[in-house]
């Protein structure tokens, strides 16, 4: 869940695999740390009206996002994990005086820089494949805090929409051997209620969002895995781009959006619980959203804890 998209108009930052993805958890007292960078480039917006795609417009010379993300996962007790995610982003337009940027007003393409949505979640492993269950299955509760992104929420270059969100997710996965290598597969679906900033036509703005992610990774040696990755974000309540209220600071939160990003991930592992994760995604099925290319690169470390005497 935490690896899901950055929820704003620029919804599609890379869903980077890290030690906290999937249903799996770390052991009690163990700490998993992830630090990574993300890059995203938006060149086009897909515009819908009355449910139909009506236009794909270039966003001037493009919007670029540079992100740094830190994620810590801590094993609270057997099969229960606490996770904290702190991202930081800089979003900028390559040409602020372009037609789209100037038309939308509200400093739509002004450079935005700062903390993203800080998220915390508690994940419980309900079924444990190590204990003999056919799959690993976890449930998680999620709290996202992004109020500090409120002032720039009307921008195309926003970081988020200034809301606090509560959510939950269900993840299922399985891993195993592949010759001398290793494979893992997982999928996760979640829902987050976004406490709205406003209301329009009886709809809270922004509305709740459904997320889904899936990865299949495999490698013929234990030190690497590679495979496809899919990520989806769906906000069912809202308005199409043509009819959104461009004058409202919550105009982007009003959008009814859907985006599916398809790509791949590569994980390299050392023998010392250090992994490097690289990912690349492209938004393929989009509604009222951009079609970015996203790249991610990160380092995941699970330091060994001292034995308690």
């Amino acid at each position: 869940m935490l690896s899901s998209s950055l929820a704003s108009l620029a919804v599609a930052l890379s869903s980077t695999a890290h030690a906290g993805s999937g249903p799996w958890v770390v052991s009690p007292g163990d700490l998993s740390l992830y630090a990574g960078t993300e890059y995203q480039r938006i060149e086009e917006l897909v515009i819908h009206d009355d449910g139909e795609e009506v236009d794909v417009i270039p966003v001037d010379d493009g919007l670029e996002t540079f992100g740094v993300k830190a994620i810590a996962s801590y094993g609270l007790r057997e099969r229960i994990e606490l996770q904290l995610e702190v991202p930081w982003y800089r979003v900028e337009a390559n040409r602020q005086e372009g037609a789209v940027c100037t038309s939308l007003g509200l400093q739509a393409c002004a450079t935005t820089e700062g903390l993203g949505v800080i998220s915390t979640q508690v994940k419980g492993l309900v079924l444990d494949e190590l204990a003999g269950s056919p799959v690993s299955l976890s449930v998680a509760g999620l709290l996202r805090f992004g109020a500090f992104t409120s002032d720039e929420r009307a921008r195309l270059t926003n970081i988020s929409e200034g809301t606090t969100d509560l959510g939950g997710s269900l993840a299922v996965g399985r891993s195993g051997g592949l010759g001398d290598g290793f494979w893992s597969a997982w999928t996760e679906v979640g829902w987050r209620h976004r406490f709205p900033n406003a209301e329009r036509g009886g709809i809270g703005v922004p509305g709740g969002e459904m997320t889904a992610d899936a990865d299949v990774l495999a490698g013929l040696r234990r030190w690497w895995s590679i495979g496809p990755s899919v990520s989806m974000l769906y906000r069912p309540d809202g308005y199409d781009f043509v009819s959104f209220d461009a004058t409202s600071p919550d105009r982007l939160g009003e959008l009814r959006i859907f985006t599916t990003r398809i790509g791949g991930k590569l994980i390299l592992r050392s023998n010392e619980r250090v992994s490097v994760v690289a990912s690349a995604h492209k938004a393929m099925i989009v509604r009222n959203n951009p079609t970015p290319i996203s790249l991610g690169l990160g380092l995941s470390v699970q330091p060994r804890r001292k034995r308690a005497e």
Binding site: A19, G20, S21, G22, W24, V26, S27, G29, D30, A35, T37, I47, D55, I57, F66, G67, V68, E78, W88, R90, V100, T102, S103, L104, G105, L106, Q107, C109, T111, L130, A131, G132, S136, D151, E152, A154, G173, S175, G177, S184, W186, A198, E199, R200, G201, V205, V242, T247, S248, P249, I267, L268, S270, N271, V274, V276, L297, L299, R304, R307
Partner: protein
């Protein structure tokens, strides 16, 4: 939502008139006086939105002018706040224009004069409307004509006191097509010329019957407004005098510098009578063509999110906004021109020239520095993985094990007791090569790892059959075998020669030949066999040193087993398993029995995980079992 007949304070609801994003409007009647009013009730309980509504009420209540819809009271009902307003029995200008088209030019100019007078009155009171449009002009029937009244000051800006009222930077206000381009950029830094722009758009509608901008989407609309790309009045309505067309087009100039500076200048240009006065006689002369009797439709558009919802009261301003926004100048909205009404911004700052916020390039440095660190780590990882495979972590135990293994190759076959090898950082055995028979000979006793000489660290492959020991949970081929390090000749199933090895105790009730002893026979660990003791001819008992790092798999998943001795004959072990995207770690403690060839460990913490394994052919095989489970996962590890 109120129902007809509901009693609100001193008023009774008579009809529902319309709704906007945050409010509903009702026709209400004072139950004693019988007067009719409009009641605009909040639809949400929101402190900030309520404050906006109250602010709108205060502004309109203080604008006592026939061209402005009057607000007379504030009503509280079940926690919801409402404004009691003058009830206008007509329709909004946009609905009328949509139905009848442009009125004759004289009537259009008469109506516009009323609108202009109402806006000028607001400016004189230090208020910028910022959302002027036909939908916010109500036409009240009066005699044979109508009177135009400006309403919906929900997003108005007080400009009378410097810095007294400003709104959040991101609050875009107004309506595309009627909103000045600079207002789209920064609604907090507009002056009277923004309202002049909107008045020009309204006048365009009045004389042509259509809005100045009619693009397909909001994006293109805003772009057209910014470039001044509208059809000239003369092209749409050739009958309109050039002077009026010129006035309209000057009002709609994208650059505020090119517009009339205030309502007075606009009125002078249009009417040439020196001021935007409200002329009731003119109002009465507005023809019936615009008189559309019926209940007032307050036009939901006037209440939409772009209106009252987006206004921000002064109480929620932040210090940063105060610092970052130029203070308003009372002169910038002064209709009499006494103030600096011509300056683009109150303090002389050109709004259009204001640079967009740019935090500077520092953020990129953080990004690239982090990327560089990650890449460096990647390089290190690849170096470790590709060029130092198998020796990622220098392990003296492993090196020692290799030495022991080579010794075993030469010595194990003779079954001669091998002297133990001194272990760095550990006190040597009390007697080199000798073992306390009480430790390894007795049933169930613990053999301290590495403290005993004997079979070596890595036993060579067994030369004799080593049937798997029955373990219901372990899959075929991975079932652990319990070594029999010393078996009486009578139990030698293979016919081999019994080795004078340390005695074996197999608490599980099974035993197999010690793989490290090529000549060792395989034996069932019958109770009798379990009681076997080395004969008097047997040499010092041997033990296997399991310490070090072992790698292998647990159900196919990468597994690392690190074994250390914790003293007192106990064994500490750490198990890493890669499960999906996480490593699971189990800290276990237990004992190595049977001369160090059988491990029985359980988790330190309360997780309840347990490991049972047996050394065979250089591998430790066995199961890891979760608490409360009957079936475990088979594992197998070897020294890298």
């Amino acid at each position: 939502m109120l129902q007809v007949g509901d009693r609100i304070d001193r008023f009774v609801v008579e009809a529902f008139l319309g709704e906007g994003g945050i409010s509903h409007v009702y026709k209400v009647r004072h139950h004693q006086l019988g007067t009719v009013h409009a009641l605009k009730m909040m639809a949400l309980k929101s402190a900030s939105l309520t404050e906006r509504l109250l602010r709108e009420g205060r502004i309109q209540a203080n604008l006592s002018h026939p061209g402005v819809v009057a607000v007379t009271d504030i009503i509280e009902h079940e926690g919801f706040t409402g404004l009691l307003m003058e009830h206008v029995e007509g329709r909004s200008l946009d609905l009328v224009l949509g139905r009848t088209g442009a009125p004759p030019l004289p009537e259009a100019m008469a109506l516009f004069r009323q609108v202009l007078a109402g806006v000028a009155a607001a400016h004189e009171a230090g208020v910028l409307h910022r959302d002027l449009k036909p939908g916010n002009v109500l036409l009240q029937p009066q005699g044979d004509g109508v009177v135009a009244k400006v309403t919906d000051f929900g997003i108005a800006k007080m400009a009378i006191e410097p810095g007294a009222v400003r709104t959040q930077q991101s609050d875009l206000m107004g309506t595309p097509g009627y909103m000045a381009p600079e207002q789209a950029d920064d609604p907090t830094n507009v002056d009277a010329r923004a309202d002049v722009y909107s008045l020009g758009a309204i006048l365009y509608c009045l004389v042509t019957g259509r809005p100045p901008f009619m693009p397909a989407s909001v994006l293109t609309l805003l772009a057209a407004a910014r470039s001044g790309d509208f059809r000239p009045v003369a092209a749409v309505a050739p009958h309109v005098p050039d002077r009026i067309a010129w006035v309209v087009e000057r009002c709609l100039a994208p650059n505020p510098e090119d517009r009339f500076e205030d309502c007075r200048a606009l009125a002078d240009a249009l009417y040439g009578d020196g001021g935007p006065t409200f002329d009731a006689e003119v109002a009465g002369a507005v023809p019936a063509v615009l008189h559309v009797p019926g209940a007032m439709t307050p036009a939901a558009k006037t209440l939409q999110a772009g209106g009252a919802e987006t206004a921000v009261p002064p109480s929620i301003q932040t210090p940063s906004e105060e610092e970052g926004t130029p203070a308003a100048d009372p002169g910038d909205a002064a209709p009499d021109g006494s103030g600096d009404g011509t300056s683009p911004a109150p303090d002389g700052v050109d709004v259009d020239a204001l640079p967009l916020e740019d935090p500077g390039p520092s953020g990129k440095y953080i990004f690239f520095a982090t990327a560089a660190l990650v890449l460096a780590a990647l390089g290190w990882l690849l170096f470790q993985t590709w060029f130092k495979t198998g020796s990622v972590v220098p392990d003296p135990e492993r090196a020692r094990a290799a030495v022991e293994a080579s010794k075993d190759d030469g010595e194990a076959g003779s079954a001669a007791p091998a002297p133990s090898v001194p272990v760095p950082n550990r006190p040597p055995p009390a007697e080199e090569g000798a073992v306390d028979p009480g430790l390894d000979g007795a049933r169930g006793e613990v053999a301290p790892l590495g403290a005993l000489g004997g079979g070596g660290n890595v036993p060579a492959p067994s030369g004799g059959p080593a049937p798997a020991v029955a373990d219901a949970d372990a899959p075929a081929g991975t079932a652990p075998s319990a070594p029999a390090e010393a078996v009486p000749a009578s139990t030698d199933a293979s016919g081999g020669t019994a080795s004078p090895a340390p005695s074996v105790d197999d608490p599980a009730g099974t035993a197999a030949a010690d793989a490290g002893m090529r000549d060792a026979a395989v034996a069932d660990a019958t109770p009798g066999a379990a009681d076997a003791r080395p004969g008097p001819e047997a040499g010092p008992p041997a033990s296997i040193d399991l310490r070090g790092t072992w790698t292998g798999k647990l159900g196919g998943r990468p597994l690392t087993l690190r074994i250390v001795e914790s003293g007192g004959g106990m064994v500490d072990a750490e198990i890493d398993v890669l499960v999906g995207t996480s490593y699971r770690t189990f800290k276990m403690r237990g004992a190595a029995t049977a001369g160090g060839t059988r491990l029985s460990l359980s988790e330190d913490a309360d997780g309840g995980w347990r490991l049972d394994g047996t050394l065979e052919a250089g591998s430790i095989r066995g199961t890891i079992l979760a608490s409360g489970r009957k079936r475990g996962q088979a594992f197998s590890v070897q020294r890298p």
